[in-house]
Amino acid sequence: MDRWTRICRLDELPVLGARVVDRPGAGNVAVFRTATDRVFALRDRCPHEGGPLSQGIVYGERVACPLHNWNIDLKSGCAIAPDEGCVQSIPVRVDAGVVYLGVRADQPAPAILQVGADD
């Protein structure tokens, strides 16, 4: 299990909401849960001015940044036009009600594995 690191149970994520994964020294990760129980993870930094996306309003498969209301696609991490910019998306997997991130716990940065972004 070195590719995937457990973070929480699915029911510990609020529906249409997010939680923050604290990664000291490596930048926080925002983990989102949609109304249809899809889970996405992005670096917790809006490409605009670095706002914490984890604090935004989640709708459809997007989140609105709490600072200046940029809308970010949860799957790609890219801003919805006409805004431009992307935040790194992070592989995430839900297995038997447990959420795993595609990062290694022992190697903080830059330890994001290059695997498909699908869940």
Binding site: P52, Y59, G60
Partner: protein, 816 residues
């Protein structure tokens, strides 16, 4: 499914744009255009003719736009036949195409006067790029031009030809120029300033005949014979004759297919013709008896039509109020609505013929119904907005003529004339957007509406105080008739319903949850967006207190976390200090919290409280606990503060105990959510040290009791509160203030401050309910008390307040 569009003008292309947004893959689309060009901005042909822009400048969607969206574009192909039974069309060059849906956007044709000689070479109309080129060429090789028709189009053509060096005479049949848009005074002013530019006019003159040169010179037109109202004939030299005597909906194709036409292709409110597979849009249609020739209504139609083509089936086009602006550089002219007045209308007129300024505003039943501006049109967009919204103007009637700037502004140095600003001048102070950026975006990206500009440049998307400026830039850059937004604005892109319609549905249908409201109102998106969800949540809990359940995930982060998010992602904490009066033990606890949690900045707020800035989210619950003070709701659309002066307890001038009154008000009203933030103040005497004059509710102590003022605002636009009532006792202050705020809570639109709410419904309405009707006032106050009863303090009763406390605990990477 196959969609065929006939006509590739602005209305049609706009419909496709809207359709692609809604249902990108629903149709296999083919477009037939008779002109050899992709979609261009027909309205800007006049600046092209005048040499101020080029054809390249006015293209809206190039050929590559069609390719990019998989749309087959057949240019230079005139559709000549529709076979409705076999559902296919045929073009002059032999193309046959089948359709499941057909969209007719055939536009209009210029009226050609049937006078002798109308078919001579050198006699043209003014409609498309080809005509514009013909005029530009003629101006280079010929000398005399006659324009028949002194309407909008004719005058723009005349001006362009004059600028290109021709001698131009305008022949006009009616009593004054642009008689459909201007009254006589403005028409005469316009004629004078055009004459100053060297144009000649023959008013009330009829065209009898166009005379051709001998055939040795190719038989080109060489003169126009006219007759004036006294029957005197005159012959004007003319190497070029431009017929601009009006337009007529182009219905030939539709009529030949047996579709019902009557001064346009007759459509219903969904833009459907009498054949349900066929839609029609733009200048070719007759909607409720009106054929529109301006672009703003066409865009409104496009939105509705696209929605129905996309099978969403929402939205009706119910007609448009239109405004006109002449696109002749240096002449400022604007007209809208019922500018001629009539019975039961009142007119306000400002006339300075020597200064070249004339303004007429027509008012009926306290509402602006029309207006003409000449020479100074900066407030055109503002008047037009008042007109469309049907806002009651009785409260600003005395200042109405002097424009929006007269009502006060902050944030852009009092700038109010977009035209006189330098390109590098800042328009939007919130987002740092300068004039140049906005103008460039409008031109390059083909923006038409305020919303477009907001999305692309962010200008006017934050505080909105520069909205008027941006609308002026839109008008000036894109052409006058663009600025017109729909009369009623939808809540957001997820729905076509307005805030009022949503509020009404929630009340009438007893809707209790966001999903139920979205289902009933047929929301287009599965769970809304960051704009509509907070609004719906507020409407539900304010309409059905103790019944509808608050949804924290539909609240903005500040109201979800109960603290204010800062630019670095930390939060600020403002404890409640009743009436701004504190004591040593509170201050000591605050000091201890600051030390313990290493809070970087401690600041006194404008609302007589203390702000602790830079608190980490995970520390918030502990900070609240250690403070031991109630939530100040400084983060919420709710009652914020009640600012007070020291009052009669200490002040040698004080007449009333304003501090106690303020504390009583704050204790009665705290935890009250509202459409927007609510600020109160209580002053102990008319010196008004608590600044009650710029608060949502301002109370001023006088010798005999208290005066209550409402709907003031110290923000973007400083607005002085209006006098509501004078009362004797503190208990009355509570009841009147509470009743007013409950009325605002029940009727206000989300994010509408009291000043805008009262401007919308009128102070008379508020007085009628809150002052004149004691029973209604008591009922309002009781409903407010019912709503607030048992409302928890989120800082100290988080579970009762429904807070998801997991948000304060970050997750960690767990060992496998």
């Amino acid at each position: 499914m196959k969609l065929v569009m006939v006509g590739n003008g602005m209305a049609g292309a706009r419909t496709l744009e809207e359709l692609i947004k809604l249902a990108p893959d629903l149709y296999d689309i083919t477009v037939f255009g008779a002109e050899p060009y992709a979609n261009y901005n027909r309205i800007l042909l006049s600046p092209v003719l005048a040499g101020e822009q080029t054809i390249g400048d006015i293209m809206l969607n190039g050929v590559d736009w069609y390719a990019e969206h998989g749309i087959k574009l057949r240019l230079g192909s005139q559709v000549t036949r529709i076979e409705r039974k076999r559902r296919r069309i045929e073009t002059a060059n032999g193309i046959v195409a089948g359709y499941d849906r057909l969209l007719l956007a055939t536009g209009s044709n210029p009226v050609i006067l049937p006078v002798p000689g109308h078919e001579l070479p050198g006699v043209i109309t003014y409609r498309d790029i080809h005509d514009t080129h013909t005029m530009i060429e003629a101006a280079a090789t010929h000398r005399d031009a006659v324009v028949i028709g002194g309407g909008l189009l004719g005058l723009e053509a005349a001006n362009g030809l004059k600028l290109r060096g021709m001698n131009v005479t305008v022949v006009h049949l009616a009593d004054w120029l642009m008689e459909r848009q201007l009254d006589r005074v403005a028409g005469n002013l316009l004629q004078k300033s055009l004459e100053d530019r060297g144009l000649a006019f023959r008013i009330k003159a009829q065209t009898k005949e166009l005379i051709g040169a001998p055939s040795a010179e190719n038989g080109r037109v060489c003169a126009v014979r006219i007759v004036d109202s006294d029957g005197i004939e005159e012959t004007l030299p003319a190497d070029l004759v431009v017929m601009a005597a009006g337009i007529r909906p182009n219905t030939a194709l539709a009529e030949s297919a047996g579709l019902h036409c009557s001064r346009g292709i007759v459509v219903d409110d969904t833009l459907q013709t009498f054949d349900p597979r066929i839609y029609a849009i733009g200048e070719c249609v007759n909607h409720r008896g009106v054929a529109y020739g301006l672009v703003a209504p066409l865009f409104e139609m496009a939105k509705v039509c696209a929605n129905h083509l996309a099978l969403h089936g929402i939205g009706r086009y119910t007609g448009s109020v239109t405004a006109t602006k002449l696109k002749v550089t240096g002449i400022d002219l604007f007209s809208a609505g019922a500018f001629t007045g009539g019975p039961e209308c009142e007119e306000i007129v400002l006339s300075d013929p020597f200064g070249g300024v004339y303004k007429k505003l027509v008012i009926k039943d306290d509402k602006l119904v029309g207006g003409v501006l000449y020479g100074d049109t900066v407030d055109g967009s503002w008047y037009f907005k008042l007109l469309r919204e049907g806002r009651n103007v009785s409260d600003i009637r005395d200042r109405l003529m002097f424009g929006e700037a007269n009502l006060g502004d902050t944030g852009h140095q009092g700038q109010n004339r977009a035209m006189t600003m330098a390109p590098s001048d800042e328009v939007c102070g919130c987002n740092g957007v300068c004039k140049e950026t906005i103008v460039k975006a409008i031109k390059e990206k083909g923006l038409f509406t305020l919303d477009d500009v907001r999305k692309h440049t962010k200008a006017s998307s934050s505080c909105g105080s520069c909205t008027g400026l941006v609308e002026q830039l839109l008008m000036a850059t894109a052409g006058g008739d663009y600025s017109a937004a729909p009369k009623m604005k939808a809540v957001c892109g997820c729905t076509d319903y307005t805030h009022q319609q949503v509020r009404d549905a929630i009340r009438d249908q007893h809707l209790l949850t966001i999903p139920a409201a979205m289902r009933f109102l047929e929301w287009r998106t599965p769970n809304g967006c960051a704009t509509c969800r907070p609004a719906l949540n507020y409407y539900l809990i304010s309409t059905w207190p103790h019944e509808a359940k608050d949804d924290p995930q539909s609240r903005f982060i500040n109201e979800r976390a109960h603290a204010n998010i800062q630019k670095d992602g930390t939060f600020s904490v403002v404890p409640r200090i009743w009436g701004g009066e504190t004591n040593s033990s509170e201050l000591r606890r605050i000091a201890d919290v600051v030390d313990k949690y290493q809070i970087r900045t401690v600041k006194v707020t404008g609302g007589q409280r203390i702000d602790l800035l830079g608190v980490k989210k995970q520390d918030l619950p502990a900070v609240w606990h250690d403070l031991g003070m109630p939530s100040g709701h400084a983060y919420a659309k709710a009652l914020r503060t009640v600012k007070t002066c020291v009052g009669s307890e200490w002040c040698r001038f004080g007449t009333q105990d304003s501090t106690q009154m303020g504390k009583d008000l704050e204790r009665a009203l705290w935890r009250m959510y509202a459409p927007h933030k609510v600020k109160l103040a209580v002053s102990g005497c008319p010196r008004n040290c608590a600044e009650s004059g710029i608060k949502d509710v301002g109370v001023i102590g006088v010798d005999s009791g208290w005066e209550i003022y409402v709907a003031g605002n110290g923000g973007i636009k400083t607005e002085v509160a209006q006098f509501l009532v004078r009362v004797k006792t503190g208990a009355e202050v509570l009841e009147y203030a509470g009743a007013f705020l409950q009325l605002y809570r029940e009727e206000g639109w989300y994010l509408e401050r009291t000043v805008h709410y009262v401007a919308r419904v009128g102070l008379d309405h508020v007085k009628k309910v809150v002052v004149d009707d004691a029973a209604a006032r008591r009922a309002l106050y009781e409903r407010l008390q019912f709503a607030l009863d048992g409302e928890p303090d989120p800082w100290h009763e988080p579970d009762r307040a429904g807070i998801d406390r997991r948000q304060y605990v970050p997750l960690a990477l767990l060992p496998a």
